[in-house]
């Protein structure tokens, strides 16, 4: 009972309160009913009242003023016998009556209902789903609607039956908004009725947040929108809140990366829509966009360069505790009001607000989790370090073969190692465990709410402290958020949000290629060498301790002890809005928001690094500002009796500025003194870009009797980055929904049925600034003036194109929402077809043309898909409920067209170009190309004379992006306990594993065991097709397996997986047992994320270990090991 009530509260937490909502109303001696109808229209709350009762009251006169709905109602009902009560989006007005406490169940009811009164039918109405009584339900005679009444605040009614019906069969109709109308045939007028109303559908009443932060009833929405409540994000947490969406929303593909706690997240909604552009959604907080651009040096690339770290993205700066809800606007129609930035969908975040209340409300949330590597590779531990099937015999060889496990049988004998010390030749199975720490994340948030009707606030402070699993890596993130709402006068209200983040990162781990990557050596060190012997990683003179033949495979301890990386992000997100009511049904609203980031980065490759002995120092400082100014006007009216229309029009001015400087220094004059004053070579580069987009937009929403809805939107964008004479584009959308269950009578097991459809054209990929004309730049830092053609931010030479436009993305979508069996089962199905046309393709031009690429508006890419959401409540008992949510999505992506004559576009490549990722015409986006094993026509392996397997053709291995995803959440509530777990999976994708390729080259994979004892017999053909029989001698086994790097298809695996993503076991502690402090609620939970991989095909790795948020998905190689995390969460409300 208690638990179900809590659930209900949670469900309705989104509804506005009549204490907060204000209306401006005046009444001049008018009937009460008229005033109530006005309130209904102005406030948006639906009114339920006994019409026949209210006519008896005198007319109402009210001075024009802005008051809360509650206060207005109090004023006008002051001298009546009527009282009112808010229930969700409804206000129930009923007759005051002496019964104070409603009975809690039907048994009590029998006793409370008085006996038979001649001609009067008595009864009581209850909600079926939580057994509380229903005040304000209408009760009418079916065949004489003039006979009717309304239930009082205890849910009881008395219906006086006119004498003429005495003796006939009487049928009454009980109706209540949001619940199924119930007809009851009265057989005995003397026996009191008990009527239980079943909800028509929660969707009927649910309000969702849509574009520009506009709230709409879910049934009025003609496109797929999924809402995730903030409280789903705060228990089992992710450092980057975007990762929490994984498995929660059908059609949203979240890739959390193997880049460490401060890293980015890649979110793609309904498949990649652009060949080379950004494929991630627009993030919007309280209706205004924030900047999600990753900090430079950019998120990692596939090949990996010096200090290749993931510096995080914009969304990671939002504190989940501040989030009221996240609306994922998946289709183009949903996001059409955002025009040129909306092609990839919008993730709309609404933050929590304060509320008028007595005293100060305090909420405290504390989470502590520990993280450990999720997957430990299953290496071979039979043969130890060495190259020729024998242990090494001198220090020089021990270094040369430091990463080769092609030695002799591990027999415990003493064998010399890289440092000249002899140690037992035994397996070192715990190198991963020994090198990495147990990560620790401690998050504390405290929030205060308070205020009055006129002014209220919410203030929160959060501290996240993370010690990474990589030694000496840490992250500290502090976020404070203040939200203030005020009603300055009866027509004027304001809202302001100020958020300030301070984020300090130390020693973000290098990724990808071996240089400066602590994970590389940790995984690749020969299996008979204890990783801890490499510590501290440097010798007495500070030089890196060499452990292998390549100076580029940095000693892991040298990295964690000597490399220095520090970045600080100071971020301010400000938002202010002013709303002014010009008329009762016309308001204007002005909003300004600024997302301002100050970024400060220092990276030091120290003196003594093997591949850069004199060291390197990079310093980057910049400021970015994303400023949006918006003005909207909103007009609402009713016409032709049954039509309601809401019209919105507005304009937006967006400006983005990046201003900073990058200083690249190399070679420290005085060793170990890391200052820019001490570098031998230094180049200072200005970094500056500025863009602006001006827009006007309008939307009209039509509503026919709450049965049919139609929305039309349009937006026109003007771009600073286009040439003046052709710089604007129009983006239209239309959507509609039809509530079948309201329009026609459906079988009773169908509680609710809605059909929806939409079409939209939105855009994306507005051109980069300064791309219209060829310009020239001076070479910074040169001692003589030198000039060259300007490069773009990445150093590429791009042919200027002043005809370039944002691409267009057209979405067609149909869907349905159905509820069955009194809402015990729900289904939400969406089918969509999204085509991106005129995609901006950086056509690879011949470098000998003097340029690297030319951007052309010619690409086409399509996404067709299906999304399914099933909700059910298989078990519902008094103290036990079981809820199940299942999502499924499938997206068929096809690259339809590239530049003329261009069949593939290069997206990225693995280290040493072993595999590459392409967008290929006719194939799904992100095709992995690898080299096949050469076979002859009969399928026999072709061997070179020396016994090496030969490299075959480059072949398509499949896409690196999973087309299908599925998730299932089970939640159980039992008394004060709740338990839920989320299982999710993705499948249909491939992943290239660099870890396995190198594990093969270096003899760590079990598949390299054949042939170790007596050579590897081969059977195949030679280059001339003649039979080839050869035994690879033991001494050459290392070379044989090393050669497999040329046949990279061996290391492209099925990337499918199923994971136990999240587990929460919670207990709500009875607060009356906690002494004198007044605690409203107290919850303690065990929480875990990424607990288990239930299914996977790729060996030795987590298939989710990609390490870039860029478009080249499907590459794995020595990222920070992905972790399982588990810990405790405490939530207290005072």
């Amino acid at each position: 009972m208690l638990i179900t009530a809590q659930l209900l509260l949670a469900k309705t937490s989104n509804s506005q309160s009549i204490r907060d909502e204000t209306i401006t109303i005046e009444a001049k001696n008018e009937p009460l009913e008229k005033t109530l109808k006005k309130i209904e229209k102005l406030s948006g709350f639906r009114m339920a009242y006994p019409s026949e009762k209210i006519v008896q009251y005198k007319n109402v006169t009210l001075l024009k003023e802005t008051r809360t709905v509650e206060k207005t109602l109090k004023l006008i009902l002051d001298n009546t016998d009527l009282d009112f009560k808010q229930f969700e989006k409804k206000i129930i007005i009923f007759e005051k009556n002496g019964i104070k406490n409603p009975p809690s169940d039907a048994a009590d009811l029998q006793g409370n209902i008085a006996g038979y009164i001649a001609g009067v039918l008595k009864g009581k109405v209850y909600f079926d789903d939580n057994s509380s009584s229903v005040p304000g339900a209408s009760v009418t005679l079916k065949n004489d609607q003039s006979v009717g009444t309304i239930t009082n605040n205890t849910g009881a009614f008395e219906l006086t039956i006119p004498d003429k019906y005495k003796g006939t069969a009487i049928t009454i109709v009980v109706a209540y908004i949001g619940y199924i109308k119930q007809e009851v045939t009265v057989t005995d007028i003397n026996s009191p009725l008990v009527i239980r109303l079943k909800p028509a559908s929660s969707a009927l009443n649910e309000v969702v947040v849509t574009a520009l932060g506009i709230r709409k009833e879910r049934k009025a929405v003609g496109f797929s929108v999924t809402e995730v409540k903030g409280d789903e994000l705060v228990q089992a947490r992710e450092v980057n809140v975007a990762n929490s969406l994984e498995g929660k929303v059908a059609g949203v593909n979240v890739s959390s990366l193997a880049t460490g706690p401060g890293g980015s997240s890649r979110v793609v909604i309904r498949g990649s829509g652009s060949i080379a552009g950004n494929n991630q959604p627009l993030y919007v907080v309280n209706g205004m966009p924030i900047d999600n651009v990753p900090s430079t040096p950019n998120t990692t690339n596939g090949s990996g360069t010096n200090l290749n770290v993931d510096n995080g993205d914009g969304i990671s700066g939002i504190n989940p505790d501040d989030i009221e809800s996240i609306s994922v606007l998946k289709g183009g129609t949903a996001s059409a009001l955002y025009g040129s930035r909306a092609s990839n969908g919008v993730v709309l975040i609404t933050t929590k607000k304060g509320a008028a209340q007595k005293g100060i409300g305090v909420e405290y949330n504390s989470t502590f989790t520990a993280e450990t590597p999720e997957v430990i590779p299953d290496w071979q531990y039979q043969y130890g370090e060495g190259k020729f099937g024998t242990p090494v015999t001198n220090q020089q060889d021990a270094i040369s073969y430091g990463r080769l496990s092609f030695g002799g049988k591990l027999d415990g004998s003493n064998v010399i190692q890289f440092d000249g010390v002899s140690r037992p030749y035994v397996a070192q199975k715990n190198n991963i465990k020994n090198f990495y720490n147990t990560g620790k994340t401690f998050t504390n948030t405290i929030a205060f709410t308070g205020g009055t009707d006129a002014l209220n606030f919410r203030f929160s402070v959060s501290d996240l402290n993370n010690k990474g699993i990589v030694p000496n890596n840490s992250l500290d993130k502090k976020i404070s958020n203040l939200n203030v709402n005020a009603k300055l006068s009866k027509n004027l209200s304001i809202e302001a949000v100020a958020q300030y983040n301070v984020e300090d990162n130390f020693n973000r781990p290098g990724l990808g290629d071996a240089l400066g990557n602590p994970n590389w050596g940790t995984y690749m060190i020969a299996n008979s060498v204890d990783i801890r012997k490499l510590a501290p990683g440097y010798d007495a003179s500070g030089n890196e301790t060499l452990w292998n033949a390549s100076g580029f495979a940095t000693n892991p301890y040298f990295v964690v002890n000597r490399f220095q990386e520090k970045d600080t992000k100071n971020r301010f997100i400000g938002y202010a809005s002013v709303k002014y009511n010009l008329l009762d049904n016309l308001f204007i609203k002005g909003r300004v928001s600024d997302d301002n980031l100050s970024y400060d980065y220092t990276g030091i490759t120290p003196t003594g690094t093997a591949y850069a002995p004199q060291g390197v120092m990079n310093v980057i400082k910049y400021n970015t500002a994303e400023i949006n100014t918006e003005l909207t006007a909103n007009y609402n009216t009713r016409f032709l009796k049954d039509f309601n229309v809401n019209v919105l029009a507005g304009g937006n001015k967006q400006q983005h500025t990046l201003n900073g400087v990058e200083v690249d220094g190399s070679n420290f004059n005085i060793p170990f003194f890391y200052s820019l004053s001490n570098v031998n070579s230094v180049i200072t580069l200005p970094k500056y870009t500025k863009t602006a987009v001006n827009s006007v937009f309008a939307a009209a929403d039509f509503d026919y009797k709450s049965i049919a809805y139609l929305s039309v939107t349009g937006r026109n964008d003007w771009f600073s980055t286009l040439s003046l004479d052709d710089d604007h584009i129009f983006y239209p959308s239309v959507s509609g929904s039809f509530i079948l269950s309201e329009a026609v009578k459906l079988p009773s097991w169908i509680s609710y049925a809605k059909l929806r459809g939409s079409w939209a054209q939105v855009g994306g990929g507005a051109p980069n600034p300064y791309g219209i004309n060829l310009t020239y730049s001076q070479l910074a830092g040169s001692t003589i003036p030198l000039q060259q053609i300007s490069r773009d931010a990445s150093g590429n030479l791009i042919v200027p194109n002043n005809k370039l436009k944002p691409y267009t993305s057209q979405t067609f979508e149909v869907g349905t929402e159905l509820k069955f069996f009194n809402n015990r089962l729900g289904l939400d199905l969406a089918l969509y077809n999204r085509a991106t046309i005129n995609d901006i393709v950086p056509a690879n031009v011949d470098p000998l043309s003097g340029f690297t690429s030319a951007y052309l508006n010619i690409g086409k890419i399509s996404n067709k898909g299906i999304e399914l959401l099933l909700t059910g409540r298989p078990v519902k008992a008094n103290h036990f409920t079981w809820d199940v949510t299942y999502t499924y999505s499938y997206n068929k992506n096809t690259v339809e067209k590239l530049a003329a004559g261009q069949n593939s576009f290069f997206l990225g490549t693995a280290v040493n170009s072993y595999v590459s990722i392409y967008a290929e015409v006719g194939k799904p986006y992100g095709e992995i190309q690898a080299y096949a094993l050469k076979k002859d026509a009969q399928g026999r392996t072709v061997y070179a004379a020396n016994g090496f397997e030969e490299q075959g053709n480059l072949v398509d291995m499949g896409t690196g992006v999973a087309p299908s995803a599925m998730s299932i959440t089970n939640s159980f509530n039992f008394h004060r306990f709740n338990f839920s777990f989320l299982i999710d999976g993705k499948y249909g994708n491939k992943i290239y594993s660099g870890t396995n390729l190198y594990g093969d080259r270096f003899g760590l994979l079990k598949s390299t065991l054949p042939g170790r004892d007596s050579g590897l017999p081969l059977n195949g053909v030679d280059d001339n097709g003649q039979p080839f029989n050869y035994t690879v001698p033991v001494s050459d086994i290392a070379n044989f397996y090393d050669n497999r790097k040329n046949i990279s298809s061996f290391f492209v695996y099925d990337g499918s997986f199923i994971k136990l993503r999240q587990v929460i076991l919670g207990y709500s502690i009875p607060t009356n047992s906690i002494g004198s402090i007044k605690i409203q609620s107290l919850n303690i939970s065990f929480v875990a994320r990424n607990l288990l991989i239930l299914y996977k095909k790729a060996p030795n790795i987590d298939p989710e270990s990609t390490f870039t948020a860029g478009n080249e998905q499907g590459l794995e190689m020595f990222g920070v090991p992905r972790t399982r995390s588990y810990g405790l969460n405490l939530m207290v409300k005072f």
Binding site: Q396, Y688, A692, V696, Q788
Partner: protein, 515 residues
């Protein structure tokens, strides 16, 4: 009061709408103007960059670890990068071509485009000559190349340029040198100090152009002796560089931006011979080839002590470079593992080669004198005797090390002693060619492109190829560099046409003049 408020609000509204009206986008032009760039080039600065960029394309990857390995100036024991030493294919050398086209070729083409005013005729001529210098080095390495349509991605939107046959490229280059030289007008302006080679001196540019004509003309001896003779004689008649004062040398400073530094030193220090390596733990594992060091030692060549060092570990805590002639030792080509006492093999001398302020020898009187020696042997020159030119060439080659600083100075006494011990010997044409071009090979170290071209044309010195298992040239010394990988995929039609004309894109294919 209410009314006032409403009016005030109305004014606010109107002004906000006005601010936001998209029609009002006057500031868009300003917003979309990069404050860090200019729209029309400053042509002299572009020319300076084009001059420097002729030597900035990853010297290490394109020359030391490739061509220098082919012709055994350098040796390398690592497999990861020992492609030049062991004739393995690798894309890095080819990638240098992209760098050249996107920088020096593109820049010099822009200079030509912006120097069409008759008043700029001298600038135009300098640019035309420089373009020939840049392009001939590329076609010598690769063969057929985009030439007439090179670097026209912006000007003509030629995104996929056609390859011109090397014969056509050579013909045009020689004509360009001729025409550009004749177009000089002493009364018109030059690039002046922005010309890093000659400070705008027209006389020097003419000598440089004729010297280049001599080089290019001589290149044709195998394929077209008639034209070779014609152009060589035209060059000699025009007047080539003969004196130290006239040589083409790119000078560098030790500025904070590496572009101002000697690219050879930058790349060698950056890739291998760092101050803290002390002859050990070299990233790529290069040393001087024993072919080269043995030649120098057997001839008691005084240049060896100037350019080479080994590391003396008498005090293990303070190893010092040792230039003692007798201690120099080259490393065998084709090794696959590090030889013991790696520090005892000779590597570039930090006091000369590894100076950021060291010069790059662009075209000097050492080379012209050697080529004049050959012209004399061929009977194409009626000047001095072959021996006289040879001696002048050797003297110049040794003398020029003085430009590398005091550690590079070789005394006249030593030079004369060397010449006395190794006079230009009488003999058959082939024998004299062998002595001449072996000396050319010894002198032209660090201009690996020219050394490699001259070796392919003359066949001297006679080198013993290494036959590393798995090499890509059937165990023969490569005859060219393969095109960058991107050509086959991005510009396939024209790439295939070039291969159909000159032969498959292999290390073993001979370019047109190397038939």
């Amino acid at each position: 009061m209410m009314k006032m408020k409403k009016i005030y609000l109305g004014v606010c509204l109107v002004s906000i709408i006005t601010i936001m009206t998209p029609g009002c986008k006057k500031d868009f032009v300003a917003i979309n103007t990069d404050p860090n760039a200019i729209s029309t080039p400053t042509v002299p600065y572009l020319f300076s960059k084009a001059e420097l960029d002729a030597f900035n394309a990853g010297y290490y990857a394109s020359q030391i670890s490739n061509v220098a390995g082919f012709i055994q100036h350098f040796a390398n024991y690592k497999l990861t990068s020992g492609f030049g030493d062991k004739y393995l294919t690798n894309n890095e050398a080819g990638t240098a071509l992209n760098t050249y086209y996107q920088n020096t070729v593109s820049e010099i083409s822009d200079v030509i485009r912006y120097s069409q005013d008759p008043a700029d005729v001298n600038k135009l001529s300098q640019a035309r000559i420089w373009k020939v210098y840049v392009m001939h080095r590329m076609t010598d390495m690769f063969g057929d190349l985009p030439y007439s349509q090179a670097a026209q991605g912006y000007t003509n939107n030629t995104f996929f340029p056609v390859y011109d046959a090397q014969s056509a490229i050579y013909s045009d280059m020689l004509n360009e040198l001729d025409a550009a030289t004749q177009a000089f007008d002493a009364n018109k302006a030059t690039f002046g100090s922005a010309d890093l080679l000659y400070g705008g001196n027209i006389t020097n540019w003419k000598k440089f152009a004729y010297s280049l004509m001599l080089r290019l003309g001589m290149r044709l001896t195998k394929v077209d002796a008639v034209n070779a003779q014609k152009w060589v004689q035209k060059a000699i008649a025009g007047g080539v560089i003969l004196n130290d004062a006239d040589i083409a040398v790119m000078k560098y400073q030790s500025g904070s931006n590496t572009i101002n530094r000697n690219p050879i030193a930058v790349d060698l220090i950056g890739n291998d011979y760092s101050a803290t390596a002390f002859g050990l733990n070299l990233i790529e594992g290069d040393k001087y080839s024993d072919t080269y060091v043995n030649y120098m030692k057997s001839n008691k060549d005084p240049r060896l002590s100037v350019m080479a060092v080994v590391w003396n570990y008498a005090d293990p805590n303070n190893p010092v470079p040792d230039t003692t002639f007798a201690n120099q030792k080259g490393m065998a080509n084709g090794l696959t593992s590090q030889p013991v006492n790696f520090q005892s093999y000779s590597e570039p001398n930090p006091a000369t080669i590894l100076q950021y302020t060291a010069p790059v020898m662009v075209l000097t009187n050492a080379e012209t004198n050697f080529l004049l020696t050959e012209a004399t042997l061929r009977g194409w020159n009626n000047g001095e005797s072959a021996a006289s030119y040879y001696n002048a060439g050797v003297t110049a080659a040794m003398h020029q090390w003085a430009l590398f600083g005091s550690a590079g100075v070789i005394s006249s006494t030593k030079i004369n002693a060397y010449l006395a011990a190794h006079p230009f010997a009488a003999g058959t044409f082939d024998q004299q060619m062998q002595q001449l071009h072996t000396q050319f090979w010894a002198s032209m170290i660090y201009d690996e492109y020219e050394s490699f071209s001259n070796w392919r044309r003359t066949g001297y010195p006679v080198l013993t190829p290494v036959n590393y298992q798995g090499n890509n040239s059937n165990g023969t010394i490569p005859r060219r560099i393969m095109y960058p990988l991107s050509e086959a995929s991005v510009n396939s039609t024209n790439y295939n046409a070039a291969n159909a004309r000159q032969g498959p894109d292999l290390l073993t294919t001979h370019v047109w003049w190397d038939k």
